[in-house]
């Protein structure tokens, strides 16, 4: 299978066995990560970034890999996450396919019938809590007792909450961006449909696909539906309107082929993604979001669970046009963390780019994140 590991990625061996929340354990598992800046002598200037579903650990360029990262404009000397001051760590989530152990990784020798066999659907059912615990093991392994801040975006916002709930006082502050305390049925429905598109593709083959016989169509559908729900109607009305493709860019003469710019945009996004992310990993990580429910840590009450999280300071950012993790969910986080005693800033941003705004609307996100970190002790 294709490897998706950026050059100069570092690896940390997880404790073995590494217990998995819903049952079972990983043996000989690892987490891929990258760092920027320098850990100070007091080891108290570290920031951990927890990512959304698909990014690698390569959040920004560095000497070992000058390629721009997925959050290039946010991380670096003098940037909002200022690496002149902070030691920044970004891990690839376990369950992913970009260096950390996941369904696309070889199974350990103890499990294997055949040498080199991949986990595929024998990977244990993955939870957001497993992602949080593995990231905590990485931070601990780097000799850091307490982080200055955890920053979680999208799925990473869920991971950041799990990190704080499971490891009290493991960080002094948290920046939670377009996150949620639990998945709502609308987002579960969207993800369920994305998974169904992959599973219905005959080439998915119950997870036993190969590079030569690969569920491209299922992945394309899943990605297009993702992109539709990551952005917003408002943005697209301004960006594409009803503009048609010129004749050279239409794919065929069928009345059902690509005709509008927005259709071509989706197709381009999908084509770039389908071979860059492993379909089984996608299924596992997608389902982990459906299952996440912080109320498990508050006797069934998410507000109580938030109130039980101890932080000095928190910044919660949401986007008014986000249909996947709507603004009420970030309002809930801000209110709940404040009730728990944290000094909370809530920033509802009017970005038109919906759930994806943190990746592209740096003009709005940069100052909010930068100001918060600049004032952090």
């Amino acid at each position: 299978m294709t490897e998706f590991i950026p050059p100069a990625t570092l690896f940390h061996a997880l404790p073995s066995p590494f217990a998995i929340k819903r049952g079972g354990a990983l043996h000989g598992a690892r987490i891929a990560y990258e760092t920027w800046g320098t850990l100070n002598a007091a080891r108290d200037n570290a920031i951990l970034i927890l990512t959304g579903l698909s990014p690698s650990a390569h959040a920004a360029s560095h000497a070992g890999n000058p390629e721009p990262g997925w959050w290039e404009a946010m991380i670096g000397p003098g940037k909002p996450i200022d690496t002149d001051r902070w030691f920044v760590i970004c891990g690839n989530t376990i369950g992913s396919c970009k260096g950390s152990t996941g369904p696309a990784s070889p199974r350990p020798a103890s499990m294997q019938g055949t040498t080199g066999e991949l986990y595929r659907l024998t990977f244990p059912e993955l939870s957001i809590e497993d992602i949080a615990n593995s990231a905590h093991a990485l931070v601990h392994g780097l000799g850091i007792e307490q982080l200055a801040c955890v920053i979680g975006c999208s799925m990473g916002g869920m991971s950041a909450l799990a990190y704080a709930a499971l490891h009290p006082r493991s960080a002094r502050a948290q920046i939670n961006i377009s996150g949620a305390a639990q998945s709502l049925p609308f987002s579960i429905a969207i993800r369920s449909l994305q998974r169904e598109a992959i599973r219905l593709d005959p080439k998915w083959s119950e997870g036993a696909y190969t590079d030569a016989s690969y569920p491209e169509n299922g992945m394309r559908m899943a990605r297009k539906l993702g992109v539709i729900t990551y952005r917003s109607s408002l943005e697209w009305s301004g960006r594409f309107g009803r503009v048609r493709l010129d004749g050279d860019h239409r794919d065929d003469d069928s009345p059902f082929g690509l005709e509008f710019q927005v259709e071509s945009y989706l197709e381009g996004h999908a084509r770039r993604f389908v071979r860059q992310f492993d379909p089984n990993c996608y299924l596992y990580l997608s389902r982990s979001m459906d299952w996440f429910d912080l109320s498990e840590y508050g006797d069934g009450d998410a507000d109580a669970a938030l109130c039980g999280i101890a932080l000095d300071k928190a910044l919660v950012i949401g986007v008014e046009t986000d249909i996947l993790f709507p603004l009420q969910q970030q309002q809930q986080l801000a209110d709940g963390l404040r009730a728990g005693g944290a000094d909370v800033s809530f920033a509802p941003l009017p970005s038109p780019q919906g759930h994806d705004a943190f990746l592209v609307d740096i003009a709005r996100f940069g100052p909010v994140v930068g100001d918060f970190l600049a004032k952090l002790q």
Copy 2:
């Protein structure tokens, strides 16, 4: 192929040839319709209902077919569309599969190579304007010079605008419900993905499927995506929350099978739909909505086109939670029709059920429609 024609449906032969906007013509085509109430001697009490994509002409029960119709609570004696006063006509749109001529209909003898062959993808490219023109031919055929009111819901709201633009003074009033002057890129993207799901299903076979080899999976995906965008996150959070199915209702032990109530709800909707609507008809009607752009009647300006529509009165209804035809689009209709001289009422309703609210939130829609019609001359 399965027939989807309700009992006691009436048929009206369209002029032959019936010219099609994007080229070509239909020969020997017909439109299926039903009526309620009695046309008065002055022939001035007729109301035409133009439907969304999938309904049949059976909007309500009547002596010939006591089965409840798709708008049963709205149409009947003493109901908001009061058949003691009004003569109500509902047509099945051409291009559909519920009695009117469409891609699932037999081709006329003049076109056929083989007797009994269906149009399938040889059906001409269908526009909303063709739907409007065929409905106008039906009304004219019933001996009605001017309608008291045209009521259009969803796609029917587009058809109602086309009807008014193409046939000036053909109706004194219009009720436009969750309609739009043109499709925005977000709704085009959703529909494009629905069509792609059908076209990617190997059993679609470029439109040459049979009952035995039928694109069930593609239709299921298309329908689920439809239902997701027809309702709202708000409704589902209240209705389903994070409730799980009990063990008896889970479809399998896979971590990716149906687990949450919302997933089962979508599956139920999809199963009821896939064999009740013809896939090729779905493709044609879906694309006709993407193409619709009232600005063609205003030198490229939709507002100018609306201003050119002559009505005595109009009621425009939109729903705050509608993500497919968002409220700004109905605001545009109200403003534009008012600028054209109509006495316009605009009713933005807070229904939680999104685009589908007119079908289910009768408590809100009934009084608004009923009051408007009661005051109509």
